[in-house]
Symmetry: C2
Subunit: 141 residues, 2 copies
């Protein structure tokens, strides 16, 4: 993400006002090294600004996400899906209809050796895109 000053400009350009709450979320997000949850950002910001509401944190994070400044790290489908197949395979997830298809993708080519001490046990690949049906629907217009 860009720094708080740049986000400020970006918000202004989008016609959004610059409030201390938003700036605080910018900064908390910017200083965060990892992948914080909304709750975690809320904790951080609350330390300096006890009056801020969790609602506002969510709102600002969603604004940032919509503007493409940050990303949501999630699987996309809300409910847990149960997979009858337990062998080593991967998944194609349709962005349009949510269809999930098994795919046997060879991941042996992935460079998983030098990961700064992280001991890789396995890799799950989620390929996003359009399933055949949705791709056809788009083609038809």
């Amino acid at each position: 993400m860009r720094n708080p000053a740049e986000l400020t400009d970006s918000f202004r350009e989008s016609g959004l006002r610059i409030t201390p709450q938003r700036v605080a979320v910018f900064e908390a997000m910017h200083q965060s090294a990892g992948h914080p949850s909304a709750e975690s950002i809320y904790q951080t910001v609350s330390a300096e600004m006890p009056s801020i509401s969790l609602r506002t944190v969510y709102q600002t994070l969603n604004d940032l996400t919509e503007m493409g400044e940050i990303r949501r790290l999630e699987f996309g489908v809300k409910a847990t899906r149960f997979d009858p197949t337990i062998d080593d395979h991967h998944h194609l997830v349709c962005d349009d209809c949510g269809l999930i298809v098994d795919a046997y993708i060879d991941v042996s080519g992935l460079p998983l050796a030098d990961l700064d001490g992280f001991e890789a046990a396995g890799a799950s690949v989620f390929v996003t895109g359009k399933c055949a049906a949705c791709a056809a629907a788009v083609a038809e217009g």
Copy 2:
């Protein structure tokens, strides 16, 4: 997953009783082509066995998961995480402590061409394993 008859044996060996409800879930899961949600299995089974409760479906699916017969398709972390980095990168997820680390993995070697009409837009790789800290903790005993 294995067929309902094999699951029956497996349950019996684990000291679990074979009930019509469990068998119905086995069959619904076995016949399912895709990646059903608990609710979807519940719908299917309910058609033949209207008295079955959603609670029992969840219970049986969890039993199957614990026994390694099926898998849960989920990201592992319950809450959405917000990622300050939006460039093209991937994630290492520690099985022990849940830490998420960015990783720049070259996925150009992944064979994403022939996916039965699925139009791949991108690929997200989640590498599971142990982070350096947790790996060290294990090594120490």
